[in-house]
């Protein structure tokens, strides 16, 4: 069983947090912090397995992680999972993200946390591996976003590369926003959205 899936960046900022057992928010944050400190002090050329003691409760748990450019993908698993298998799974997950976001970078994860969750839900549910075939995962994710588009109601706004039906109203919305409305000046921020992390090639 997978106990938790954590994604955080080089500074320990969480980008995706998925616990498969209930823990209070403070405990979750504590675990993220400690996990970050554990993996941070390991350089990239040493092994990707890490015994985490009783950090997650059971002594059985092990951390398996991969480091891509600015992000750490950490899976906490028990002894029923194959270590190398999970490493592959992380790769599959990241490659899937890459396909779904077209050249994924940290910013995609920051602004589309919900979408990342939806993708993850096609890979792992309830701590158990659902699908390892990337094409199948991508197909299901796309089928669902199609369904979402058909409903034309995307609340979170479509990903910036999406065109089509749902994109238009949303663009209109952001156009309205970009007019200096006195009530909400703090919302206006254009700079961020197109910044890309330079080190893309490393991010598979």
């Amino acid at each position: 069983m997978i106990n938790a899936i954590l994604v955080f960046n080089n500074h320990g900022k969480p980008r995706l947090v998925r616990f498969y057992q209930h823990l209070a928010e403070e405990v979750q944050q504590q675990i993220i912090r400690e996990t970050f400190h554990l993996v941070l002090k390991r350089d990239d050329h040493i092994c990707n397995f890490l015994e985490c003691g009783s950090l997650f409760g059971g002594s059985d748990y092990k951390l398996i992680y991969r480091h891509y450019a600015t992000l750490y993908f950490v899976f906490c698993v028990d002894s029923s999972e194959s270590e190398l298998g999970i490493l592959d799974l992380i790769q599959v997950f990241v490659e899937t993200l890459d396909k779904c976001f077209e050249n994924v970078c940290e910013l995609d994860l920051i602004f589309h946390m919900d979408k990342v969750h939806h993708i993850l839900q096609e890979v792992v549910i309830g701590g158990m591996v659902l699908e390892t075939n990337m094409n199948e995962i991508v197909a299901q994710v796309e089928a669902q976003s199609k369904l979402e588009k058909a409903e034309g109601l995307a609340v979170t706004g479509p990903s910036r590369r999406q065109g089509g039906l749902s994109a238009a109203p949303s663009r209109a919305v952001s156009a309205v926003k970009n007019i200096n409305l006195p009530e909400i000046p703090r919302n206006i921020n254009i700079g961020d959205i197109n910044i890309k992390v330079p080190n893309l090639s490393q991010f598979m």
Binding site: N48, S82, I125, L130
Partner: protein
């Protein structure tokens, strides 16, 4: 309305969406918390609006905030609102938020039941999928109970996407609602053979999770998994199954034997490292579970170790790590195989990766021997010097101590070396483990008498250099060693050469900066030292010197009297007074030394931790009885202090109390003993321990051997411990030379006689005699000690509830609650009117419907009976599968089914169909026999070919159908088959009986394996068994490389009286068309009280043609094609006078001649088998009144005629 909509969307426009929130947070880095609380206020406003889109947007933002650590449980109700939105977009947002923050404590979760049920049955598969995903995260016992049936139905959904999700979520349901496991299990099992690989993988996943916790309940699935393992190509599934087998093998060693071969094949063939690694792991688990050493096992270990070496040598750190991890598992049972890779593991100590270094350290622990201990520790010491970072250095330090002290210093041959290692370790700065080193110093000094003199000199040096060790007391871990040093110098002061100097060292003002407990020991031990100096001076008549030393004490002790530490202060002032008194006496010239020394008379002796337990309790002494009346519970005391008036009640409570307290007492006693065990200073009450040992039987006292130490104490220019390594080598060399001399003498004496025997005296590590004996009493467990396995189980373990016997038939009360209109009572106790779960899953057929009402009751009963029978069979099936099944077919033969007995049906649909049909039949049986019967029969025959044995058995209850039933391998019968054994007698004499069986080897077309069971019939011990055969041109025994054809193969075990064991020998052959006979001899040594004698037993090994056949199932169409092809030779025989039934006959042919039944109609059957070299053999067996005729077809006519001859012989015995 329209206006409202417009208003809503305009509202929405001005709301922040998730991206805006994220951007906002990024722009408010300085006052993030403030900004977020502002946002939360906005979100609260948004949640109050009616527009679902606004709500969903708000919930989406909340999910993000949850990730940042904000509690969003207050919005639980709003989340449910969004979950119940009709649009998928919103629903998904709602379920995501719910999955992140709902849990068992969320009270509104019970409101979701109906919504989730609605979503589960939604026509849109993604609605269902989203609901399942969400449910997997927040399922509660109530939800699990209410929705179990819905989810179970989804397991048979048309879309594999839903099926696989449903299967996975069932595991969560089982965890929360264990009662659902039994009713759902049959379907889960069914999913193991789902056509969709994803669903199959999910089912494997769930069963593996279940089986990992309670493996014994899933043993009966082993054949099914075995089949999956040999047929699946999905590495994920394979890994899971192989891991599962790893958990099952400890329970069933026979399973392990069966697994070795396919696993070894996988190890050889796979290119996926993950799979390879898991295979190796499971092979290791198998080897651990198998105690007997079969010959090919050492090969398996070698293979594993080799593969692991490849992993460890890989540049990929992950593989290296895993390789070491697996290696440590082998180490536990087969240390020798790992020890040969010492070089590699030592190399890993240099690795830059700390995890790998730590793993390597773990391995080293198990690898040490007397021979290599010094070398390994030397390497470790180098690493200690080089190590950066205290954590790793501390780890090294503890490992060094662990390695050296393991099993009572078993591997230490030179304790001087060890002491110097310990002293060297004290030079480590900033270690936390000073107390460990101290404990070791004390332990060694106390227990190894011969080393005391040396230890004392070293400790005196330490005390002298105390300023170095205690230089920075803030990192004072290491100054603990001073505690040990002071104690050793004091206690064994008679060995001290310059006691004065040591005493002065202990009286230095600097000592007062040490921690209190160390000072206390200092104070106490300086008196011991003082006493011995005093005695020494008095004896030599140096009165002035004696007075001087007293004066020194009186001058210096006050610094301790002023100590802030109570212990130090108390001891110091006591002692100061004492010494002042001594001084007075000294002035009067009264000799005092004798009296002072008497204060510390008596020697400390090591006590076994459990020695106290060995003391028999004197008769009539009840340790558990109260000495005084126990005070009653303080609480009740407080409430009613005048208990005298409630006499009756009090008596009652008194009765109960001792019981509770007994446990408590036992616990405390245990704790106390533990404490004593860990306390090296624990002294028994008896003043003369030697005497006690004699008094108490059972406590052995190992005599201490004094050995002259001819070791110079210092070699300049070399670290202390190194010199011992050199000296030790020299010593060993000397020892070896002496031994060789002795050996030569022996040889001269014994020449000619038992020359083989002598070779057993090879140089083993055990021959290295230690330089010192460890004076220790072995730890013994009292006879009444309780095994502690029960204690470590957590009563709250959620998996414990899933320890359910899955083979038992389902009871009516166990079915899952079924959806119905909310009616609380009914939900909790489903009444018997609700249809059986299994029934629900089936689409009832038309004809069944007709008399459904009438038949239901009867049918149910019948069903139950059948299930019960099936249940009984199940156990037997597994046994059968494990014991007699031929070696599994390799994956290259898609047609073959590896297990004959409990062969599993290839296509799941077929199973379902059959099951349905069976039930139909049963119901028909009870009612009237339908005219459609014939039609069905026909259809059945077709399906029959892949039929499971137990299913066939079930059917055999319908007598009228019996004649048309096809049989598989003749194991189907309505009457029990006589026990058959494929083992034939090889040879026998008064000592030993050998029986053997020959099995073809699928992997190699020119090899057969001969399994020989050796049974010791005598009352003597049989050993050094060696089996040899005279090879023929065609048939040769496979001998290890490098041995000549005249060498025998040793049998890898010895036989105590009355024991039997099995060994396997491999033979290679060229032609298999003829039967072969080989002559051979078993030589062995019989050892009994009178002595040992050499014995021999000749035998003839008969390789029948049947032993070259491998039971291979064949489908009837393939069989027909084969016959049509026309390249087969034909031959036939007829045997008269057959009285046994056809079933028995077929069973015999199947069993003894390795055939399988293809089809059987009335008293006619077609059978098939295949030779190891690929000859097809087809038989048509017909039974007449008293005779049987067999027509055979085969690629090779000679083989066929030989086979038929053999068959004739078998049948004529019937």
């Amino acid at each position: 309305m329209a206006l409202k909509m417009v208003k809503g969307s305009i509202d929405r426009m001005f709301d922040k969406n998730l991206q805006d929130l994220v951007r906002g947070i990024r722009n408010h880095k300085e006052d993030e918390a403030k900004y977020i609380s502002q946002c939360i206020d906005e979100i609260k406003q948004e949640l109050k609006q009616d527009n679902i889109a606004v709500k969903a947007n708000a919930v989406c933002k909340l999910t993000y905030l949850q990730m940042l650590g904000y509690d969003i449980s207050w919005a639980a109700f709003n989340i449910i609102e969004v979950m119940s939105a009709s649009k998928f977009t919103f629903k998904r947002i709602g379920y995501l938020a719910a999955s992140q923050c709902f849990h068992e404590g969320t009270d509104v979760i019970m409101l979701t039941t109906n919504q989730i049920r609605k979503d589960l049955s939604s026509p849109n598969q993604y609605d269902t999928g989203v609901a399942l995903t969400g449910l997997s995260c927040f399922v509660t016992p109530d939800l699990a109970r209410d929705l179990a049936n819905d989810i179970m139905t989804l397991m048979s959904h048309t879309k594999p996407y839903i099926r696989k999700k449903a299967v996975l979520i069932m595991y969560k349901v089982f965890l929360k609602y264990p009662e659902s496991l039994r009713p759902a299990f049959p379907r889960l099992k069914e999913k193991l053979e789902d056509p969709d690989p994803g669903v199959q993988s999910a089912a494997v996943n769930v069963i593996c999770e279940l089986a990992r916790r309670n493996p014994k309940n899933y043993l009966s699935l082993a054949p099914l998994f075995f089949k999956l393992m040999t047929s699946s190509t999905n590495n994920w599934v394979l890994i899971k199954i192989i891991k599962l087998f790893g958990a099952l093998t400890p329970l069933e060693p026979r399973l392990g034997k069966k697994l070795i071969e396919p696993l070894t094949n996988l190890i050889h063939s796979t290119s996926a490292m993950s799979l390879l690694y898991e295979c190796v792991n499971t092979v290791i688990a198998v080897l651990i579970s198998l105690s007997s050493g079969m010959p090919n096992h050492s090969a398996s270990i070698q293979l594993c170790v080799q593969k692991l070496r490849i992993l460890i040598e890989d540049s990929d750190q992950n593989l290296k790590y895993l390789g070491l991890l697996a290696m440590s598992k082998i180490l536990k049972t087969h240390p020798k195989s790992v020890q040969s890779h010492k070089d590699l593991i030592l190399q890993c100590l240099d690795d830059k990766d700390e995890s790998i270094r730590l793993r390597a350290l773990d391995l080293l622990y198990g690898m040490v021997s007397k021979k290599n201990l010094m070398e390994i520790v030397k390497k470790l010491m180098i690493h200690v010097d080089k190590a950066e970072g205290t954590t790793y250095r501390d780890e090294l330090l503890t490992k060094i101590i662990d390695i050296c002290s393991q099993s009572n210093y078993q591997y230490i041959t030179n304790f001087e070396w060890y002491i110097s290692i310990l002293v060297e370790l004290t030079r480590l700065e900033g270690t936390r483990h000073g107390h460990l080193i101290a404990a070791q110093m004390l332990d060694v000094a106390i227990r190894v008498k011969a080393i005391r003199k040396f230890a004392v000199s070293q400790m005196a040096m330490l005390l002298d250099n105390a300023h170095l060790i205690a230089s920075n007391t803030q990192r004072n871990g290491i100054c603990e060693v001073l505690y040990a040093a002071a104690w050793i110098c004091g206690e064994f002061s008679e060995h001290l050469e310059e006691a004065n100097q040591t005493l002065e060292a202990m009286l230095r003002p600097k000592v007062t900066t040490l921690p209190g407990h160390i000072q206390a020991v200092y104070v106490q031990n300086m008196v011991k030292l003082y006493a011995s100096i005093l005695q020494q001076k008095e004896q030599s008549g140096e009165k002035e010197a004696a007075q001087e030393i007293t004066q020194l004490m009186i001058e210096r002790l006050p610094q301790f009297v002023q100590s802030a530490d109570l212990e130090v202060q108390e001891r110091a002032s006591c002692i100061l007074q004492l010494i002042k008194y001594i001084q007075k006496l000294q002035i009067k010239e009264v000799p005092v030394a004798e009296e002072v020394i008497a204060l510390f008379a008596g020697e400390l002796n090591p006590v076994a931790p459990k020695a106290q337990k060995k003391v028999p309790v004197p008769e009539g002494l009840d340790l558990d009885a109260w000495i005084n009346e126990p005070p009653s519970d303080s609480e009740s005391e407080d409430e009613k202090p005048k208990t005298i008036f409630h006499d009756e009640e009090q008596r009652h409570s008194r009765h109960r109390q001792p019981e509770i307290d007994e446990e408590e007492l036992a616990r405390r006693r245990e704790a106390r003993k533990q404490e004593q065990a860990n306390n090296p200073f624990y002294i028994k009450s008896s003043p003369s321990p030697q005497k006690r040992y004699q008094d108490t039987p059972g406590v052995e006292h190992i005599p201490v051997v004094q050995i002259d130490l001819s070791v110079p104490l210092k070699v300049p220019g070399m670290p202390m411990s190194d010199q011992y390594v050199k000296l030790e080598e020299e010593r060993r060399h000397k020892q070896k030379l002496e031994k060789d001399k002795k050996k030569k003498k022996q040889k001269k004496e014994k020449r000619g006689k038992h020359h083989r025997h002598n070779s057993l005296h090879t140089e083993s590590e055990e021959d290295i005699a230690p330089a010192h004996h460890v004076d220790i009493i072995t730890e013994e467990m009292p006879e009444n000690a309780l095994p502690s396995d029960e204690d470590d189980k957590d009563p709250n373990d959620p998996y414990k509830a899933l320890d359910i016997d899955l083979d038992k038939p389902l009871a009516d009360s166990e079915k899952l609650p079924v959806q119905r209109h909310r009616n609380v009572e009914n939900l909790k106790s489903p009444d018997s009117e609700a249809p059986l779960v299994e029934k629900k899953s089936k689409k009832p057929k038309k004809k069944e419907k007709k008399h459904k009402e009438k038949e239901r009751e009867k049918g149910k009963k019948k069903e139950k009976k059948v299930v019960e029978e099936e249940d009984e069979k199940k156990g037997e099936d597994l046994d059968f599968w494990l014991s007699t099944a031929p070696p599994p077919a390799s994956t290259t033969q898609p047609q073959s089914e590896p297990e004959v007995g409990a062969a599993v049906v290839a296509e799941p649909q077929e199973v379902k169909k059959e099951e349905r049909e069976e039930r139909d039949e049963e119901e028909e049986d009870e009612g009237k026999k339908s005219s459609k019967h014939k039609k069905k029969k026909h259809k059945k025959e077709k399906e029959e070919k892949s039929k499971d044995k137990k299913k066939s058995k079930k059917k055999s209850h319908h007598s009228e159908e019996e004649t048309t039933e096809s049989v598989q391998n003749g194991t189907l019968d309505d009457e029990p088959l006589p026990p058959m054994s494929s083992y034939r007698l090889l040879a026998e004499n008064p000592y030993i009986k050998m029986t053997y069986d020959i099995q073809g080897n699928l992997q190699n077309d020119s090899q057969v394996t001969v399994s020989v069971i050796f049974e010791n019939k005598s009352t003597s011990f049989l050993k050094s068994m060696e089996l040899n055969v005279l090879d023929s041109l065609n048939t040769k025994m496979l001998r290890p490389e490098g041995s000549s054809v005249h060498d025998g193969i040793p049998v890898p075990f010895q036989l105590p009286p009355g024991i039997s064991n099995e060994a396997q020998f491999v033979f290679t052959l060229q032609s298999i068309v003829m039967a072969q006979k080989l002559k051979g001899t078993l030589s062995f040594i019989v050892k009994n009280d009178e002595g040992s004698t050499h014995e021999k037993l000749d035998f003839k090994l008969h390789f029948s043609c049947a032993s070259y056949l491998i039971t291979t199932p064949c489908y009837s169409d393939a069989f027909a094609k084969l016959l049509e092809s026309g390249d087969l030779h034909m031959s036939s025989i007829k045997v008269d006078g057959i009285s046994i039934s056809f079933q028995h006959l077929l069973a015999k042919i199947c069993f003894h001649h390795h055939f399988s039944v293809v089809e059987r109609v009335d008293s006619c059957a077609s059978m098939y088998s295949r030779s190891i070299q690929g000859h097809h053999v087809c038989l048509l067996v017909k039974k007449g009144e008293n005779s049987v005729s067999i027509d055979g077809k085969c690629n090779d006519s000679t083989l066929l005629s030989n086979l038929l001859d053999e068959m004739k012989e078998t049948l004529s015995k019937c």
